[in-house]
Symmetry: C2
Subunit: 416 residues, 2 copies
């Protein structure tokens, strides 16, 4: 990918209508483009990051036996009326619109209702369970105050996983597996160290639900963290009774701002009862299916990574989600030999299937090119110039050290 | 993937509210689930087919130098007002809805306007061009009469590519490259032989646009085909003047029904002028960018493949888009040795990264299992039973021949 042709160029100017460092850097770095408040196009570099985040999550969710499908944005009101969530007084973030025939439809904010209805056509016996289903799908939420770029958007991709079990015990077993899968996901995304399993209020079925909260100054949520035990409690349930139950000591808890990157939620039989998702058990009795839901907002995760891992020059992508492996900078490209060498290095890297952003601009100054590389935040910066000769100059975005190495050594190191 | 756990089971009953063989087979085979007319969930098998179609298209579009991004469904009305396409009398398939603050937004039917506006912030000089941009993105069209399952839907994924050139000549050169890329795509999707480049009416800028029409009884369009020259003319421009210009002979043209699987369209400077996408040329003059658009509806392509390639038992997927490579059927699974052997074969195939649907049901009859395999239409059917011993019984869905072969030979053949 050549920078000269890349759609989404870097911007120097502060984005006055955006709050928060992730919105600033993602827009200025050419990752996203604002269509309107809370509605952002993913530019090529942004799509690459999103695809990497998505693939990591997909691998970990596949590993806990879930099947991927893709449900629709347009929603038939019927199942939502049965659960009581069609009413704007109950769910106040619906986008609703009309079909040509005048009937009202909504844009999905989540998918418990249509999925429960879908499975009610397939599940009859305890032998048909358990089932685990997930998707990466666009959600629409009519937020009155979208904020901070991708942190609270009106349109965003969510990974939503749903579990269907015959009883509370097998549900809890899966819930624990999902919890562990989430912990692996944060680790692979590079935010594991700062992300805490957080107790939050439950619902009708369970005393608690669980959030995964990443400590971050710009977070909307307030949580109380026991850093030794690696556990947190959301402000909403931070009281003596809960602390006692969780065996936590108020004196060891620090108040922190945090961003909720994921949540896991026992749903009990609320939706299965409302929508008739019943099964026949071993004794011939009819029972409602026990459900859980497990969400991760992909754009919010991308923004959280930026909020957490940056410096005053720009983003520092963790290697696993860096849009490319290498940001190749050609300097002194007016010198034909250097230009030829830079093009060769670019071809070599591409030939090895290494993802490269190649800054091939002739008119930009070295300073501009280095500043852009720091802003964009790709893991390896590689420079070819009149000084590098047969070697290339390598610097990792997260380290200060600059070294001159033979190209083959660098490639060998990347492909390890 | 185990059939016993698969979400989306086969259905025996004819779908009375659906017209057309593709809607019948895709629903009965467990590929899609109807949410409401023109709105279909992709079940796991359907998503697998869609992912394969998408990947083939992505490879061919990447090969013609386009960059992938992902724009939004929610649309700011401003750029659409500038082009004149916000008005419901001009574009009568908008879904519109309201933000909480009362402002109206729409759901994208296509993306010329926001993309042209986006590029106007990046393009200044002729040096910034050409640019080619594409996405796989969900479109919403408020069709008054959605029909035939995925053939005319209200919500569907489209691959839309847009080209931006400095002049008509370079535009035409790219238009020709896109045409050739499309021809390769139909070939790889298994519908090349029946898909015709079709002249259709142009617009303000060009005399013609081009459709790719796949011959099909259930098609909505009427075209006239010269099968020797492999060219067709849409009914709307089928007249003596056009035939003369295209050097076609009316007597050699056959009337056919067809489905439009793709279209390529010169847009001229209509949108660049309306939205101010201008560049400075070599002489310092300001000029509008010359644009083209190139669409493929992914769901419609999937449905067209089924319309074209099936028999009275079910779908016959072309190998490139078959949801899995192998449909493994275990018979006599109550026999512990056979069951063990079937599980071993399943593990071996999975270990070789071969995509398998394993019919592991104990309660289903051999007849039911074979009927389901024929309906689902996966390329290779492989049977393990009390008769197959160390071998497996192989049949391709598109051939009658059944053969007993050693497992290793079969795997070796698949991995060729």
């Amino acid at each position: 990918m050549r920078y000269s042709q890349l759609i989404g160029k870097t911007k120097k100017d502060i984005q006055k209508d955006e709050v928060g460092i992730s919105a600033q850097y993602l827009i200025r770095g050419g990752f996203i483009h604002k269509e309107l408040a809370g509605v952002y196009t993913l530019l090529p570099l942004g799509l690459k990051v999103v695809n990497k985040i998505t693939q990591i999550i997909r691998e970990e969710i596949n590993a806990i036996d879930a099947q991927e499908l893709s449900m629709t944005a347009i929603q038939n009101p019927d199942p939502w009326k049965k659960s009581g969530r069609w009413d704007d007084n109950v769910v106040d973030i619906w986008f609703k619109t009309l079909l040509k025939n005048g009937s009202e439809v909504g844009l999905a904010t989540t998918h418990e209702e249509p999925l429960t209805k879908l499975l009610s056509q397939q599940v009859n016996s305890y032998k048909d369970l358990p089932l685990y289903v997930y998707q990466f799908q666009t959600k629409f939420r009519n937020e009155p105050r979208p904020r901070s770029g991708l942190l609270r958007a009106r349109e965003f991709i969510m990974k939503d996983l749903y579990s269907f079990n015959t009883n509370k015990e097998s549900h809890e077993e899966y819930y624990e597996r999902a919890k562990q899968a989430y912990i692996k996901i944060w680790e692979r995304l590079g935010i594991g160290k700062h992300t805490y399993l957080t107790f939050a209020s439950g619902g009708t079925f369970s005393k608690y639900s669980h959030e995964f909260q990443t400590l971050c100054e710009n977070g909307e949520d307030t949580i109380y963290v026991d850093k030794k035990k690696k556990i947190a409690v959301n402000k909403e349930v931070f009281n003596d009774e809960v602390l006692k139950e969780l065996n936590l000591n108020k004196k060891e808890m620090e108040e922190e701002k945090a961003i909720e990157v994921g949540n896991i939620f026992p749903l009990g039989t609320k939706y299965s009862q409302a929508l008739g998702l019943m099964f026949t058990d071993e004794t011939g009795g009819k029972k409602p299916v026990v459900m859980g839901s497990y969400g991760i907002g992909i754009g919010r995760v991308m923004a959280t990574i930026v909020e957490l891992i940056h410096d005053d020059k720009g983003i520092i992508w963790p290697e696993n989600v860096s849009p490319c492996k290498v940001h190749l900078i050609g300097l002194n490209l007016d010198d034909e030999d250097v230009n030829k060498r830079a093009e060769e290095v670019y071809s070599r890297l591409k030939g090895k299937k290494i993802d490269v952003l190649f800054d091939d601009r002739k008119e930009a100054t070295p300073g501009e090119k280095f500043a852009d590389a720091d802003l964009i935040g790709i893991t390896y910066r590689a420079v070819v110039s009149s000084k590098t000769r047969e070697d290339i100059e390598i610097k990792r975005r997260d380290q200060e050290k600059v070294s001159l190495v033979p190209l083959e050594d660098f490639i060998g190191n990347l492909l390890k």
